[in-house]
Symmetry: C2
Subunit: 222 residues, 2 copies
Amino acid sequence: MDKDEKPNRNVRRRRRTRELILHAADSVFRAKGVDNATVNDITDAADVAYGTFYNHFRSMDEIVEARAELSIQRVSEFTDPLLKHAGRVELLPCIGARIIMRVLIADPAMRWMVERPYVFVDEISKVAAPMMRGAEAQAVADGRLKPVGGHECWLRMYPWLLLAEIQEALKSGDIFFHEEQFAYVSLRFLGIDDALAVSLVGESRDLVGDAALNLGPGASAS
Amino acid sequence: MDKDEKPNRNVRRRRRTRELILHAADSVFRAKGVDNATVNDITDAADVAYGTFYNHFRSMDEIVEARAELSIQRVSEFTDPLLKHAGRVELLPCIGARIIMRVLIADPAMRWMVERPYVFVDEISKVAAPMMRGAEAQAVADGRLKPVGGHECWLRMYPWLLLAEIQEALKSGDIFFHEEQFAYVSLRFLGIDDALAVSLVGESRDLVGDAALNLGPGASAS
């Protein structure tokens, strides 16, 4: 190992420690809830020194936001291959609605954010908007998607619609109903006609399947 | 005056004092902002004793919410006669969008609530939902309005859509643009087709006119 590798190794070590802390935070949040978790709980679970936390995160809020961003990124990791398999952009809102509801509701960091609407909306916008802007641009240009008020209006409204629906899903416990509701609302917003919407929602039901239900709170919070 | 009138007179006096305090609170909020206003400011402006405030309101939050409710009720006082004049239920979302944006943005209590999304949504739901449920029920039943996900979904989503749009209007200062945007979003949600939407929004522009622009922040906050 020559000297030139050393900075890289330090970078890698730093990244590994950060991932260790983030991973530990998730376990602690699931076990105790975000509001009851302490920095000490997290560094204990990660088996690192207390001060190490602050080399990576300025505050508890910052690590909660980092966890939430991981969840939102996970949504696109789940959604992309399904969408490529389906090959039809109109399915994105349906598949996306199912995955995003299941992933976010399973994550205590996201549930914490539901109580802080502006933080929630900012986080969703930061991660989801660039992805959606890219994935939908062509379809908006050629008129397959006709978002009311234009594409930017849709990207801006999306996190608020999602927040309203997640909040209802958390209240009622019926995630499946609200992921379909969210899909229908999204399709209407995008100007997809009702008959096509019914078949798209049906198709997305088969594509996403029950497997992803393992992302639900019962499974991963246990 | 016989003894039987006395309780009524007390009730009337109590109501007058409450109105006096509410009126004074509005002036104070406009002059100093909600966050800087004190109970003392309000009782001074109303020329009542400090303790009188607490005969009517338990806290500052409670009087802010009461002021916000008055604003939301004002919306329906403005909207109802215009709608009767127009005689066409599809115009309700357009007229409503214009009036509600102008009234709410002009009211410091409502702007304060925009920072507290769940309070905002609750207040809008409490006052606006019963009114809308009544005004739109027949049109939903006979299919003139086809809200995606059903009428309750629309009533539930409405405050969130409004919040998102008001927030943008406050950011950009362009109330007119965002009241039309909100009207288009509402009409799409209600299943009105795009060509009709354009003519409805135009018609509502003439019906509401510039007069109501006096409700804007520049006019009433000065």
